[in-house]
């Protein structure tokens, strides 16, 4: 498993691709800063300029694929940072760039038609750039220091993005989120300190060799996991999630649900695989938390009255599937772990694309009808707005119906659970599917109501419609070509 994470790759003797990595990390920052000065009014200049980071990522991909995984040592005075890139890193980097690009390109039209002049719009651009860079750092980092920097930057940036609307509710929600993020970071930092004190090293590859079972390790892992799972909104630490989305801007919600919570999950899974790769009882407990998340999140989404809350609670439920992966990958037979490994990453990608698409579509629906409640959608399907279609396509993936990527991921997870003999997980996956269908079709039921007053509909700008549809379609069609991302996972140092 450590080999799959790319942590065993020896550092390159000549740091040839380091320049490209730095380019991937820095370009979003620069572009964000530029956009703060010359604020974009349209989506297309962003799309055109976004070719720059995409191009640098393309170059990095080629270099990594050609060498079959790369690792770098960066000496900063007495500090040594460890970075690495393998198939998994590339997959996550691509995902982050695509989703961020879509939400950034969504923003200009959104700000123009929906927000007007309110809020601190100037700060949206540099913060989004910073978020992209910090996420990229998290995917690349192979030592606890880099991970901590990435995590802290990501958390603070996310808080900043939440505060942008400048309204009271947004400030309250943002401050609460800040508090949580700080508590989470503190727990994480304590865990890191324990590990540093015990084994005097921070690089994950080295810790995997050095760490010994014992009280210290367990307390450290518990602290790290508690901090990360709080940030990842894992059940039962999820209550903060929906209120945060309530007042946030739509593209910010999309980024947060699709990527930010995944960052914490990624770090947590990575640390478990490195530090306690055989702790199957503890992993089973995390899996049970996941099961609880699937069911409870689904119930909350089902009961929610606001459209955005439905989408937000469904994130809790979907993250539960990822947590199930813990129990299927840690301390299980290799063939189970392999299927679960692929299923988990596919689920992550599927959920990111679908959830981002769904948030954008939800934003469009709310903008178009002027109603934020589920009931406000009554009769919305009469005009067959594109946003409703996008919402539907994204929800196919969330429920896990074919041919979506969510379905293929569920197939793999079911496969792993059956092979491992975890019957309870079968029930959880089945129940999750049914609850998913219940909360999604509740929304659609309203949209098909015919005898309601037809709502006043505002025209949604094309760029907003198309971006939501594009992300949703990507999550749908990825299910059929799931072999592509999975091949990427297996190649470049991830196949062993």
């Amino acid at each position: 498993m450590i080999a799959r994470l790319g942590l065993l790759t020896p550092p390159a003797t000549q740091p040839d691709a380091l320049g490209t990595v730095l380019l991937v990390l820095v370009t979003p920052l620069v572009m964000g800063a530029l956009a703060a000065i010359w604020r974009p009014r349209r989506g297309w200049p962003i799309a055109a300029l976004a070719l720059l980071p995409l191009a640098s990522l393309m170059v990095l991909s080629q270099e990594v694929l050609a060498s079959g995984g790369q690792a770098w040592l960066i000496e900063l005075g007495t500090l040594t940072l460890h970075w690495r890139a393998n198939g998994l890193t590339l997959l996550l980097l691509w995902l982050t760039q695509v989703v961020t690009l879509a939400s950034v390109a969504y923003a200009p039209a959104y700000l123009r038609v929906e927000i007007g002049d309110q809020g601190e719009q100037r700060w949206l651009w540099p913060l989004q750039g910073l978020l992209l860079s910090s996420l990229s750092l998290i995917w690349l980092a192979a030592d606890l220091l880099s991970l901590y920097i990435g995590l802290e930057l990501m958390g603070l940036t996310a808080v900043g993005l939440m505060l942008l609307p400048g309204k009271v509710e947004a400030l309250v929600a943002g401050m609460r989120y800040l508090l949580l993020a700080l508590v989470g970071s503190l727990a994480f930092l304590l865990g890191v300190a324990l590990l540093l004190g015990a084994w005097a090293r921070l690089d994950l590859g080295g810790l995997a060799m050095a760490a010994e079972e014992g009280m210290v390790l367990w307390v450290a892992v518990a602290l790290l996991s508690a901090g990360l799972l709080l940030k990842a909104a894992a059940f039962p630490l999820h209550a903060w999630l929906a209120p945060v989305h309530g007042s946030a801007w739509t593209p910010v919600s999309a980024l947060h649900a699709a990527l930010v919570v995944k960052g914490s999950f990624f770090i947590a899974l990575q640390l478990w695989l490195v530090l306690v790769p055989a702790a199957h009882i503890a992993a089973w407990l995390v899996g049970a938390m996941g099961g609880g998340a699937v069911v409870w999140g689904g119930l909350l989404a089902w009961r929610a009255t606001k459209l955005k809350d439905v989408v937000a609670w469904s994130t809790v439920s979907q993250l539960g599937y990822l947590l199930l992966g813990f129990s299927l990958m840690i301390g299980t037979a290799p063939q189970v772990a392999e299927v679960a490994w692929e299923g988990t990453w596919l689920q992550l990608v599927a959920h990111s694309l679908a959830k981002a698409g769904m948030f954008l579509a939800t934003g469009n629906l709310i903008f178009s009808t002027g109603e934020s409640h589920v009931k406000g959608l009554a009769g919305a399907s009469c005009r067959m707005p594109l946003s409703l279609l996008s919402f539907g396509i994204a929800s196919i993936s969330l429920i896990g119906l074919p041919p979506s990527a969510g379905f293929t991921a569920k197939w793999l997870l079911l496969h792993a659970a059956l092979e491992a003999g975890y019957w309870l997980w079968l029930a959880v996956l089945a129940l999750g599917t049914l609850l998913g269908a219940a909360y999604i079709f509740r929304v659609f039921r309203y949209s098909f109501v015919e005898d309601a007053e037809p709502p006043e509909a505002r025209r949604v700008p094309w760029s907003m419609e198309l971006l939501a549809l594009g992300l949703a379609m990507a999550s749908l069609l990825l299910g059929l070509v799931a072999e592509w991302p999975l091949t990427l996972l297996r190649t470049a140092g991830g196949g062993a």
Binding site: L346, M384, L401, P402, L414, L418, L426, E450, A482
Partner: protein, 501 residues
């Protein structure tokens, strides 16, 4: 030689129409009509080409890997082509019918978009070459029919849609679990490679039986086997063309087709027989046949009576395949086609009566034969076929079912057939009697509930011609059963593949 493009093109005809229809504005009904009809015609031609090719010994296959060990596979065999042929023919007829039926009603764009998606799913189900691909389109069918069921948008329709989803999604989930479990046991299950499961040996028989039951529940929901039939009568709130398609080819038939696949192409008839599951199927089918007929008898409205009759009739297919022996197989497969033709005719007629005269209840039909002779003749043909009278197609089905029962040494099945035929007569003949022999508004007695003059003939041609043509086809399928390319010929072709080594 293997040609991959033909099955793909067949799927594409209805699948690609979907985005085009959604892209067109609501008022562009001319373009939409042309698009729908030409796609439907094209599909009939393409399926015809494949049937021709299959007789020439061509094979059509298309596959790619979805994830490691799981393939998307289209593989054309005679059984799949039968179903594809049925679906493409009835799509054409029903498209014509729906254009006429929904004239001037709102949301036609949404209707036709999902209608095409629904037909695309049935084609996918027909051409699927393994369980994974089958499951893919089976679930897509659930999704695409939901908007059609709730199309009218009033509370009753929405409730029916919710019930429909509860049943079908749970069924789909069972199917998914069963398919994944089979996959963990033996890997990708390609249709026709039935040795895979038989080779597992007697040790696996217990598990295989459980899996069979799980899969049967998954498929039985759509096939409306008792006690999983609860959604079907409620789904009657959908517009008439949807009911027609749902009952004749799409949902109910997809379930029955899936059971045929399960028995013949996944487990293999010998293994199913060995596991003792054929008897179970026969019992379930018998119960469903008798229960459906009884309930049909109790209905006072036309469409619910037809709905319960579907529950009963579709189980003839299951009964046929549960009879071990070629005749039983032929009976089951041929009924797959025949029931489709006859039932679609009956639903068109019910739609015609409702559209032209506002008739929903059976006791309002008095004397309608005089006012709408062609529709009533078509209805009579369908009803007689359902009862099993020659020369309509239904006779062939029942004849082979009887022979199959003798061959399988299950004489009690004949008693079931007789009982069911009597019940069929009991609920169809009174309607026919009312149509032709009772005086009604056409004879100056009383009034039609809501009469409209929608066309030059007894009703608008868009509604009349599909009705007549499917009625004629049901007679032809019976009269010309001995000719090549008839349903019976195709069914015999499939059966020969199954029983000859």
């Amino acid at each position: 030689m293997s040609q991959a493009w033909l099955p793909l093109a067949t799927l594409a005809t209805s699948l690609l129409v979907v985005p085009l229809i959604f892209a067109l504005p609501e008022r562009a009904w001319r373009v939409r009509t042309v698009l729908n009809l030409s796609a439907a015609l094209l599909k009939v031609v393409l399926v015809g080409l494949m049937v021709w090719g299959l007789y020439q010994g061509e094979s059509y296959r298309f596959s790619f890997t979805v994830v490691r060990g799981v393939d998307f596979l289209f593989q054309v065999d005679a059984l799949g082509l039968m179903f594809a042929g049925l679906s493409s023919l009835l799509w054409l007829a029903t498209t014509v019918y729906a254009i006429g039926y929904l004239e001037d009603s709102p949301n036609r764009k949404r209707f036709f978009g999902f209608f095409s998606l629904c037909v695309a799913s049935t084609v996918g189900i027909a051409l699927a070459g393994n369980l994974f691909t089958f499951l893919l389109f089976y679930e897509l069918l659930t999704l695409s029919t939901y908007p059609l069921v709730v199309h009218r948008g009033y509370a009753k329709a929405l409730d029916a849609g919710t019930v429909y989803l509860r049943y079908t999604l749970t069924g789909g989930l069972m199917l998914l679990l069963g398919v994944v479990a089979l996959h963990v046991m033996v890997g990708d299950v390609t249709f026709g490679e039935r040795e895979m499961l038989a080779d597992l040996g007697p040790g696996a028989h217990g598990l295989l039986t459980v899996l069979f039951l799980i899969l049967l529940v998954g498929l039985g929901v759509k096939a409306a086997l008792v006690p999983l039939h609860g959604w079907l009568p409620r789904a009657m709130v959908a517009p008439a063309p949807v009911s027609a398609l749902l009952h004749a080819v799409a949902v109910v038939k997809a379930g029955a087709f899936g059971i045929v696949r399960l028995v013949y192409d996944v487990y293999g008839i010998s293994l199913t027989y060995e596991l003792g599951l054929l008897t179970l199927l026969a019992i379930i089918a018998t119960l469903t046949i008798l229960f459906g007929s009884m309930r049909a008898l109790a209905q006072q409205e036309l469409k619910p009576r037809l709905a319960y009759s579907t529950i009963s009739q579709v189980s003839y297919i299951v009964l046929g395949i549960s009879l071990f022996g070629p005749f039983g197989t032929i009976a089951g497969l041929v009924h797959l086609m025949h029931q489709g033709l006859m039932k679609v005719t009956l639903f068109y007629c019910a739609g015609n009566y409702a559209e032209e005269l506002g008739i929903h209840r059976i006791d309002e039909l008095d004397g309608a034969g005089r006012r709408m002779p062609l529709t009533s003749i078509a209805f009579t043909v369908g009803a007689l076929g359902m009862i099993g009278l020659p020369p309509v197609a239904g006779f062939i089905s029942k004849w082979y079912l009887g022979m199959g029962a003798v061959e399988a040494n299950m004489p009690w099945v004949i008693a079931v057939l007789v009982a069911s035929s009597l019940l069929n007569s009991a609920y169809f003949l009174p309607i026919v009697y009312r149509l032709w022999f009772r005086p009604g508004p056409a004879h100056g007695v009383g009034e039609w509930p809501a009469e409209r003059r929608t066309g030059r003939f007894e009703i608008s041609g868009w509604l009349l011609w599909p009705t007549c043509s499917t009625a004629v086809l049901s007679i032809l399928a019976g009269l010309l059963a001995g000719l090549p390319f008839s349903p019976l010929d195709l069914a015999s072709f499939v059966t020969a593949e199954e029983y000859l080594p």
